[in-house]
Symmetry: C2
C-alpha cells in the first residue's frame, strides 16, 4: 500500500506515464501543460483541468461566476503555456442534487465569459450528481499555428528565465480572504485571472524563446519544471522582479513578505520561459511595444548544479503539489 | 431557489443550453451525444463523461480495472452513437489522498485497455485531490469520416426503431451485485461493456439510417430522445426483442421480469437508431454478415401521438436521470 500522500502528484504522474501507450500521432503526451497530437496533418493541443470545491475553491469566498471564470482560465492557461490558440472547450460538472439551479447557471456564465474572452467557445459537456462537493472539469482543444509550440523542455545552460506579469497578487488575495482582510485588487486577481493567450502565442513565435510554462503552482516550482528536473539548475534573482504596488502596500500593512507570495504563491497564470541571452533585449522590447502586460528577466539557467536557487540559496520544492 | 432535484438533468441542460453561445464552427452543440465542431475544414466530435463513485460505480462491486474500463467505454460510446471514430482521450481524476497508488494505476490500466480496444489512445489528463470519493472525467476527441455523422434528430413518422445487441444484461448484473447473487455473465456485462464503434461507423454509412443514440440511460428513455421530444411518438414492441438466455435464466430463478431490465435498465451501451422501413431488410442483412453483434427492429415512429409507448401502453419517462 502506497498512499498518494506519500508519492505526491508528480510521483503519481510518473507512474501513470508508464501505463499510457505512445503512438506516432502523439507528439507530446502526459507531463506537459497540454498533450500535442496530430490530427488531419495538423497539430492540436488537448488539455483538461479539474477544479474541486474545498481544494481549488471555496463557495464562501467567491461567486459562482468567479468560480466558473477561474476554472475555465486555469484550463485555457495550459494552452497559452504551449503558445497555442484555444478553439473549443467542454465542461463536466458534478454537483449535489440540492444545488440551486441559479448557482449552476452562474458557474456557466463565468465559464463562458472566460472562454469567450480567450477567443474560444464552450460547446458542451456533461452534468452529473455528486454525493458531496462541486467538481468542474474543463477540457480545452486548441490549435498550433505553423506547427510551432513551446514545451517545458529546451532550456540550455546560460539561457535566461523570463516571466510575464506581476506575481503574488493571487496568493495574497487568498491570504486576505482566509484572514478576513479587505484587499479588493488582490482578491480580484485571485478570482479573475487572465490566461495569457496572446502573449503565449507571441512568445512561441519568437525564435529565441525555447520553452515555456504557466505559473499555476508557484514561480519557484514551475520554473523548476523548465530545468527538465535533474538536467539543469535555475537561479532566480528576486531583486529583479518588480513588486506590485498593491501587494507591497498590503504586505507592509500586515507585516508580510511579498516575496513569499511572489515565489511560491501560485495561481498567477503568468508565463515563465527560457530565452537565449543574446536576443533578450530585442525580444522584450518588441513584446513591450505589443502588450501592456509586464515582462521581465528573473533568472538564469546553469548546468553547474541542479534544482532552483533563490538569491543563491537552494530551495526545497516549494509551491503547491496535490496529495501532499 | 430551484434545486436541481426539482428540474432534473434535462431541465438543467435546457438552462445551460440558453447560456452557451453558438458559432459557425459549432455544428452540433449541447444536447446530443457529442458536440460536432469544424476544425481545419473537417468535422470533429468532442464528448466528455463524468464517472462518480457511489453514483456510477461502487468500489466494493468492481476492480479498479473494471471501473476504469467502464468510465472510458461510457465516453467512447458517445462517439459510437454519432457514427464517429475515437482518436484521443483525456482523463481527469480526482481522488482522496489516502487512495493507494496501485488502485489509481489499476484505474488507468482499465482506461487505457478500453480506449485501446476502441482504437483510440489516452494522451494525458489531470490528477487532483478529492475531499471525498473518486471522480473520473473522460473526454474523447473523435473524427467523422466523410462528414457523415448521425445526430439524435432525423426520425420521421413510419421509420422503424432498430437496436443492436441484447439489452438488460448490465442492469441485471447490477441487481445481482446489489442482492449478492452469483451471475458472472451478467456482472461481466455490467463491468465490461463494449462501445459499438465499428457498428456505429457502419450504421452511419448506411444511407437509410437517419438518427442514432447509445443506450446509456435505458432503452425507453433513450428511444424517446430519438422522437425529438414533442414531435413524434415511438411504439416499442417488446415481443420483437430477443431475451438473452442468461438473462432469462437469471430472471426465472429470482422471479424477475427480464423486460424491466431490457426496457429501463440502462448502461447497455448498445445503439438505437431510426431507419427507413423500405430498406430495413437489406440493411440488417448486410449488418449481420459484417458483425456478430445482434441487430433487431423493435418498434416504429409515428406522428399520431407523442412520447414512448410499450406494447401500446404510454410510459412515464423511465430510465435514469441525474439529480432526480
Amino acid at each position: 500500500m502506497t498512499e498518494l500522500s506519500r508519492i505526491g502528484e508528480f510521483g503519481l504522474i510518473e507512474r501513470i506515464a508508464r501505463i499510457l501507450p505512445g503512438a506516432p500521432t502523439v507528439i507530446e503526451g502526459i507531463g506537459d501543460d497540454c498533450a500535442v497530437v496530430r490530427v488531419f496533418d495538423r497539430l492540436m493541443l488537448l488539455s483538461c483541468d479539474m477544479f474541486v470545491e474545498d481544494v481549488h475553491f471555496r463557495r464562501a469566498y467567491a461567486s459562482p461566476q468567479d468560480i466558473g471564470w477561474k476554472a475555465a482560465t486555469s484550463a485555457l492557461s495550459d494552452v497559452a503555456a504551449m503558445g497555442g490558440t484555444p478553439l473549443f472547450s467542454l465542461v463536466s460538472l458534478a454537483c449535489p442534487v440540492t444545488t440551486d439551479s441559479a448557482y449552476v447557471e452562474g458557474l456557466y456564465h463565468g465559464l463562458t465569459d472566460a472562454t469567450g474572452q480567450a477567443g474560444a467557445i464552450v460547446v458542451g459537456g456533461d452534468t452529473t450528481m455528486s454525493p458531496a462537493g462541486i467538481f468542474i472539469d474543463v477540457t480545452v482543444v486548441g490549435e498550433v499555428i505553423g506547427n510551432r509550440y513551446l514545451s517545458r523542455r529546451g532550456a540550455q545552460s546560460g539561457d535566461l528565465l523570463g516571466v510575464t506579469g506581476r506575481l503574488g497578487l493571487s496568493a495574497a488575495g487568498l491570504w486576505a480572504l482566509d484572514n478576513g482582510k479587505n484587499a479588493p485588487v488582490l482578491v480580484m486577481a485571485h478570482h479573475r485571472p487572465t490566461a495569457r493567450i496572446s502573449e503565449g502565442l507571441w512568445l512561441s513565435g519568437c525564435p529565441h524563446v525555447k520553452s515555456m510554462i504557466d505559473i499555476s503552482d508557484g514561480f519557484v516550482q514551475d520554473a523548476g519544471h523548465l530545468t527538465e528536473p535533474g538536467r539543469l539548475g535555475v537561479e532566480i534573482e528576486p531583486d529583479t522582479l518588480p513588486v506590485d504596488p498593491n501587494l507591497r502596500q498590503f504586505c507592509l500593512e500586515y507585516e508580510l513578505d511579498p516575496l513569499d507570495f511572489m515565489l511560491t504563491g501560485g495561481e498567477d497564470y503568468e508565463l515563465a520561459f527560457a530565452i537565449r541571452p543574446e536576443d533578450t533585449d530585442d525580444c522584450l522590447g518588441m513584446f513591450r511595444r505589443e502588450f501592456r502586460t509586464p515582462i521581465h528577466i528573473a533568472g538564469r539557467f546553469t548546468s553547474a548544479w541542479r534544482g532552483v536557487r533563490v538569491a543563491g540559496r537552494p530551495t526545497s520544492p516549494g509551491g503547491y503539489e496535490h496529495f501532499r
